[in-house]
């Protein structure tokens, strides 16, 4: 196992280094137009410049705040709804079709509507994150409840557990891993949601910077922000994965 891990890390690192080298050298040899592709060394200098500007912290904190608020709302609203729908069949049959229709629709198409309703400020972005994140949270919470082994519930009932206890001590812990998957999916959708919503219309935030830098063709600066968002997404989803493993271990 250790051996395969090492070779995995080794091969991936080599691949990244080869890619970076090709990216650095190709524009220098005029194989590609460096104006559009930029170069790793330019991206590094750009990163240093951006990190020193005071507005950087403000942009990041605005986007982060929108993301965290939207995601927290999605979890607080989505998990109870999902658990409820998973438990009561008739309710689920009634609400399932509209939820599935929303799941199949690209939610980001609704951004102009939220801007119309909530204006160009922070609340329309929070709404975007909430809506894109809440649906996978609901769907996976429903799935979590439905995957619970019926014999566990039966055993609990046989030992005269009340409905309330069955829910709290059997259904809830057993459906947690699936709920976490929903939160993880909602997170990655929410990150894209914040950036796209800010790009559509906003006055600050990472998406706003991306739009400005893109229109000005500052590819080196643009790439810094794209890599930043990418790294944040990767780190955040890895963190939730760790939680998932933790809960799996608890079973």
């Amino acid at each position: 196992m250790v051996n395969t891990m090492r070779s995995r890390g080794f091969v991936s690192t080599v691949a990244i280094l080869v890619f970076l080298a090709a990216w650095e050298i190709a524009p220098r040899l005029h194989l590609v137009e460096g104006f559009y592709t930029s170069q790793p060394s330019h991206v590094l200098t750009a990163s240093w410049e951006i990190l020193r500007t005071p507005s950087f912290v403000k942009d990041v904190s605005v986007s982060l705040e929108e993301f965290v608020l939207g995601l927290a709302l999605a979890v607080v609203v989505g998990v109870p709804i999902g658990l409820l729908l998973g438990t009561f069949q008739t309710l689920r049959y009634l609400v399932d079709p509209p939820i599935m229709a929303l799941y199949a629709t690209p939610q980001l198409a609704l951004i102009p509507i939220y801007v119309l309703w909530l204006g160009i400020g922070m609340s329309s972005k929070v709404a975007v994150v909430f809506v894109v994140a809440v649906i996978p949270v609901i769907v996976n919470s429903i799935a979590g409840v439905r995957q619970v082994d019926p014999s566990l519930v039966l055993v609990a009932r046989s030992f005269c557990a009340r409905q309330h206890d069955v829910f709290r001590k059997v259904i809830l812990p057993a459906s947690l891993p699936s709920v976490m998957i929903g939160i993880r999916l909602g997170m990655s959708r929410g990150i894209l949601g914040v950036v796209v919503a800010e790009m559509y219309v906003s006055q600050d935030g990472v998406g706003n910077q991306i739009l400005k830098l893109g229109s000005a063709f500052r590819v080196d600066h643009l790439l810094f922000y794209v890599l930043l968002v990418s790294a944040f997404g990767f780190a955040a989803t890895s963190l939730v994965r760790k939680f998932e493993e933790h809960f799996e271990g608890g079973r």
Binding site: T4, S7, R8, F10, V11, S12, V14, A15, I16, F19, Y36, T90, Y93, L94, V95, D96, P97, P98, M100, A101, L102, Y103, A104, T105, P106, Q107, L108, A109, L110, I111, P112, I113, V115, L116, W117, S188, I191, L192, V195, V196, M199, Y200, G207, I210, G214, S215, F217, V219, L222, Y225, V226, L227, V229, S230, A231, G233, F234, T237
Partner: protein, 253 residues
Amino acid sequence: MRNSRTLLGVVSFAMILVAWEAAVRMGWLNPFFTSRPSLIFAALVTEAKSGELFHNLHVSLGEFAVGFGASVLAGLFLGVLAGWNRIVEYALDPFIWFLYSAPLIAFYPIFVIWFGLGTYTVIAISFLLAFPPVMVNTIAGIKSVNPAMLLAARSFCARPRDVLWKVALPASVPMIVAGLRLGLGRALTGVIIGELFASSAGLGYSIAYNGQLLKTTDMFVSLMVIAILGVAGTQSLSLLEAHLDFWRAGPGL
């Protein structure tokens, strides 16, 4: 049982439409912000008659078909390659995760320079969004094939090509279809946000255009059409899965 389920589904959509219409007519909701179903339906008919709807639909569907089609081909090909060969998998891994988590729409100004405003840029965005999940799930599918089945096939002197087409791919159908489902959603998202930013035609463009003119009803017409496309696409994938996965006797294989 099945009938009551369909019935409840129809009832729930009908209830939403009636509540929406009634809330606006009673003055609880401002039609400027929310429009109402009867107005949206009337606008849908007008747009259909004028040909505007079909023009936008034609543009978006074309972009979607090419973007998603290319991502399926590339995703399956690279997925099989990486599922078969660990070195390829490890080498592609970091790039796939970057593509998966990067807000690729950020690159649209560069795509516009390369491919021009409109169709080709939108296709590129849709392709790049849709192809990682197809590939990741194909890898996972190929790697999760029961080794005993592979061994059995090899013992009967199956050539690698036969093992791939007759054992590994059929056995990975559920994983691959799950990837296609994710990819389909992302391809559609790619088309819509691509058109929102970098196009002058299509359903996404029509939403952005009508949004700037504050024409709520026309925005909802395009939104409804997009929702119907999304549902239709997802449903047809379920049919495809049932068709391709007929051989599986039951869960647990």
